[in-house]
Amino acid sequence: MMINGKPRLACNTFLRHLPPGAVTIEPLDNFPIERDLVVTVGDFVKKIESIYPYIIPKEPRTIEDGPYLQTPAQLAAYESFSDCINCMLCYAACPQFGENPDFIGPGAMALLKRYNGDSRDGGQQKRLDAIHGENGVWSCTAVGICSEVCPKHVDPANAVNQNKTNSAFDFFLRFLRPGGAR
């Protein structure tokens, strides 16, 4: 919630960390208010669902195939983004999301990067289609405040920038594919 005007985790903010005097507590910015300090998160959940937040295997596997194995380097490619706890503080801080509630937002972008960076995943193209649009990754103007407020140091701004690179790369790559740009 908003504590003294800043998005913070209420469970992790102690009075001893705040300046003396009155403490202002408000519901999270940029979200519809359900009642009192409760905000509606249905729209956020839809955005998370829209980026397929699960591993889509490259080929069908059975239990007999055993566990997926990864090298430490393959793990490092996405590990920092997997720390996201969906607290929505980045959404509350993001002025672009405040101006345009349809913007997919930093949290979903970080989660998208987490799964697209996973060596076990084969759904990269499916997810990239979700961020090419008007309310996708290009709505971000790189304010960077999402990374500053993130309590888990996920660095969503970095994820957004990497997604921008991948989106641009994918756009030009389409001209080289059989059938060209559709």
Binding site: K6, P27, D29, N30, F31, P32, I33, E34, R35, T40, G42, A93, P95, G98, E99, P101, A142, V143, G144, I145, E148
Partner: protein
Amino acid sequence: MSERRPYRRPMNPTWWASPPYRAYTLCELSGVAVAIYGAVLLQA
């Protein structure tokens, strides 16, 4: 979930001037200087 019309608090119109966003605002304002310099170069 309630059937009431969702209430979304309006954004502060001067959010760009508040302390956490000042670095971003200054960065964006540097575009004005670049535009002026570009205009000077075009006239030269």
